[in-house]
Each structure stands twice: as structure tokens, then as C-alpha cells.
């Protein structure tokens, strides 16, 4: 387990989690990495740690550069345990009295994870710390994506240690953008959709602040996945684009089904949408993880949600998806609700009221079909889809 020298005396000393498939409910089919960074200078600094079970892997990588006991300070950009889990071990190793730099909220939040036994140095927003030949400037990035989040920026090398921002859940043989190319972008987009979507107004403010400060980046080093050394501007531009949440000529038909009736409806609706020239994706909620569905929702102009009526209510996976989507606050969407039913048929109405609460504009009344859709009902679904598709196409003109 060796380190990677990113720039002279700046090393990647993180860990690769090849096997994780469920990251607090976010499906991570490509695993992830926990990136930690070692800067060897007059003051030796470690920026962030790794998830607790990977602490030994990090220590082993550090040992190839320097005796870990020689680390003078630990910097915690973010309290979440995939980056702070290694703190107790590393502090035990280097000495509990060594300074632990973090934001003010970081001090508070780290104390509530690991107790207040550490020598916390809560930094001010914009504060600079000299390491010798290099320095680090700390920038608070509250709620991007926790209250404690901050960036560390090295002005001498124009390197940004960006915590979770600009990261991706991706474990692979590559460590850098130039090694993987365009193939990393879908992972970065999935990460954005699942972790950051609700904070897009804050991201826009942050990007404006960075521009105003005239910060330049030769590299952006996030806490997960690929490091951006060839073209850091590319991921910054993508964040600016994704933050605008501009609706595309695309529809997601997210649904579940009991005896295939709601599935038949979903697929007929998707065909109708296609007839109107909309790129429509029927997504069965037990064939597609919520994190995949929300990634497609992010740039869709239309979200159509379908549920059979089960015991007078929604099918559980549909409730799950709605809860997830509500929290991520997607904007600028048209919505619609449908479902098959046997007797009472409450689901489409419940769906519609939930979409309403999320601020989705619903130009069409919910569509429901009794039992199995026959030729007439299929035609109705197709036409309903086509109508919705035309509305979307018109609005995007």
C-alpha cells in the first residue's frame, strides 16, 4: 500500500474501498475511495483521514513517506465519519496533544463524535496557516454539505483540497482525471445528484465567491475518487451547469408495480412521451436503485410517478423514492401521477399531493386504471404521455 506523490512533497495517502455497494443508502456500484493528503514541510500536515476500518491502510501509505509520528498537525475539512473515522487512531499514533485544525462547527461536531479530548484549533473563515515553504488558507463551506465543511487551499501551488465537493464514488485503477477521461463524469454527476442537489443555491454562491476572490486551481483534490489535475476547470464548470438545474427534454417515469398493471401503464406512457419527441425512461423502483433514479431526475424536465394502490395507500418503494426525492429538492420540474388499482385507488391522488408539496407543476390530472390495462386503457396511457410530452416540449421552447 504505497502513497502517490501528487506534487513535490504532497502525497495521496488515502484508502480504496473496492467493495462498498451501499453508502448510507446510495448505491455505489463502483466502490469508492477515501482520500487523505499528506504535506511534508517544516510542519508536516495530514489533511483528512479515512473511514475507521481503513486507518491502517492510510498509516501504511504514510509510513512510506515519513514516520507517522512526525505528523505535526491534523486538518479535518469535514466531520463525516468516512473522513474522520481514522482520527482517533491517527491522534493516538501521533500524540493526543497535536493540534487538530477544523472549522468552528467542525470543533463542535468532532467533539460530538469523538469527545472533546483533542487539542482543537478552530480556524476563522479565510485564516491562513504557514507550513514553512507552503501555506494553507481555510475557507468555510457551511452546508456543503455539512455545517462543519471547509476547504483548504494552498496558494503557492494553487491546489484546492475540496473535501466532499467535486468527489465521486469510484474505486478504480486510476487516481487522476487524465488517466480516466470522460468516463468519470457520470460518477461525478451521480455524486452531485445524491449528495449536493439540495444545496445548489449555496453552490452557486460559493462559485461566485471563488470567482470574486480570484482563486485559481492547478489541481482540485477531493475526498472521494478521482483527483482533478489535468483539467480542474471541467468539474467546476459541470458544478455550475448542474446547479442551474436546467430542465432537459427528458422524462423519468418512476414506478413500482404488483401484477404488472402499473408497469404496462408506465411503459405505455413512456411510449406516448416518445411520440411527442421526449427522451423517456421508465424506471422500475425495484430494478433501479433510488440513487440511480434521482440522477436521471436531476436534469429531466418531467417526472412521472406511478404506484399501485396497496392497502389504500402507496406501494412502499414509491414512498421511499418520494421521501428521497423530496429531501434532495429538485427544481424546475413538471410532475404527473398515475397507477393501477383494484378497488379504492387512492395512490395517484396521494402521489399528486406529494408532488405538489415538492413544488412540481402538474398540468395534467392523475391517471388511474382499474385492474389490468386493456387496449383502451393502454391507448389512454399513451395519449396521456403524449400530451404531457407536448407540454414539456412547448415549455422548453
Amino acid at each position: 500500500m504505497k502513497p502517490i506523490e501528487i506534487a513535490p512533497k504532497i502525497y495521496w495517502v488515502g484508502a480504496v474501498d473496492w467493495n462498498i455497494r451501499d453508502f448510507h443508502g446510495y448505491s455505489t456500484k463502483a466502490g469508492t475511495t477515501y482520500n487523505a493528503y499528506l504535506i511534508v514541510d517544516k510542519t508536516v500536515a495530514l489533511i483528512d483521514t479515512v473511514k475507521a476500518p481503513f486507518a491502517d491502510e492510510m498509516l501504511e501509505r504514510i509510513s512510506h513517506v515519513i514516520d507517522p509520528k512526525k505528523i505535526d498537525i491534523l486538518i479535518s475539512n469535514h466531520t463525516e465519519m468516512d473522513h474522520s473515522g481514522g482520527i482517533p487512531k491517527i491522534m493516538h499514533f501521533i500524540g493526543q496533544d497535536k493540534p487538530l485544525y477544523c472549522s468552528k462547527m467542525g470543533k463542535k461536531n468532532l467533539s460530538m463524535h469523538f469527545g472533546d479530548k483533542y487539542n482543537f484549533h478552530a480556524v476563522e473563515d479565510g485564516e491562513t496557516l504557514s507550513l514553512g515553504s507552503r501555506s494553507l488558507t481555510f475557507l468555510e463551506t457551511k452546508m456543503l454539505h455539512w455545517p462543519d465543511s471547509m476547504f483548504s487551499y494552498c496558494p503557492e501551488d494553487k491546489i484546492l483540497f475540496s473535501s466532499d465537493a467535486f468527489g465521486q464514488h469510484y474505486a478504480g485503477p486510476q487516481r487522476f482525471d487524465d488517466e480516466i477521461g470522460e468516463a468519470i463524469m457520470p460518477h461525478a454527476k451521480t455524486y452531485f445528484a445524491n449528495i449536493l442537489l439540495l444545496y445548489t443555491p449555496l453552490i452557486e454562491k460559493l462559485l461566485a465567491r471563488v470567482t470574486q476572490m480570484g482563486l485559481e486551481f492547478s489541481m482540485i483534490l477531493p475526498d472521494h475518487g478521482i483527483m482533478w489535475r489535468q483539467d480542474p476547470g471541467k468539474i467546476v464548470a459541470a458544478y455550475a451547469r448542474w446547479s442551474r438545474q436546467e430542465p432537459k427534454n427528458k422524462a423519468v417515469v418512476a414506478y413500482d408495480t404488483m401484477w404488472n398493471s402499473t408497469r404496462i401503464m408506465a411503459e405505455s406512457i413512456a411510449e406516448g412521451l416518445g411520440q411527442a419527441g421526449v427522451h423517456a425512461l421508465p424506471m422500475h423502483l425495484r430494478a433501479n436503485d433510488r440513487s440511480e433514479v434521482i440522477t436521471q431526475v436531476m436534469d429531466a424536465g418531467l417526472v412521472v410517478v406511478g404506484s399501485p394502490t396497496l392497502n389504500n395507500g402507496l406501494f412502499p418503494t414509491v414512498s421511499d423514492f418520494l421521501t428521497y426525492m423530496k429531501g434532495l429538492k429538485p427544481k424546475n420540474k413538471i410532475g404527473a401521477a398515475f397507477g393501477s388499482y383494484g378497488w379504492s385507488g387512492e395512490a395517484p391522488k396521494i402521489l399528486s399531493s406529494q408532488l405538489d408539496e415538492m413544488g412540481f407543476d402538474q398540468p395534467e390530472a392523475p391517471l388511474k386504471v382499474l385492474y389490468v390495462p386493456g387496449p383502451e386503457a393502454k391507448k389512454q396511457c399513451f395519449e396521456w404521455g403524449e400530451k404531457l410530452g407536448k407540454i414539456l416540449v412547448d415549455r422548453l421552447k
Partner: protein
Amino acid sequence: MDKYVCQVCGYVYDPKQGDPENGVEPGTPFEKVPEDWTCPVCGAGKEDFEKE
């Protein structure tokens, strides 16, 4: 006096408690909180608060 909720992080400003750590005395109605005050949890501005 109404409570106000931060639309970014969910923090609730309770006028009875104010935000003494950041110079807002207990008993200060939200309307009287300084315009440059920000959410103590997430840093959002006053404009990001809505009545509970």
C-alpha cells in the same frame, strides 16, 4: 413572536432564545435581528428564513 426556519438547514430561530453567541439578545423578534446576521448552523442569510 414568530419562530423562523432556515430553509437551507432547518435551524429554527426562536425569538425567546435569540442567538446570544452571535450578538442577538433573547427576546429579539426576527424582524429586529440585524440584516447581516446569518444562520448560526449553516451561514444562510436572513432572506433564507421563512415563518414556521
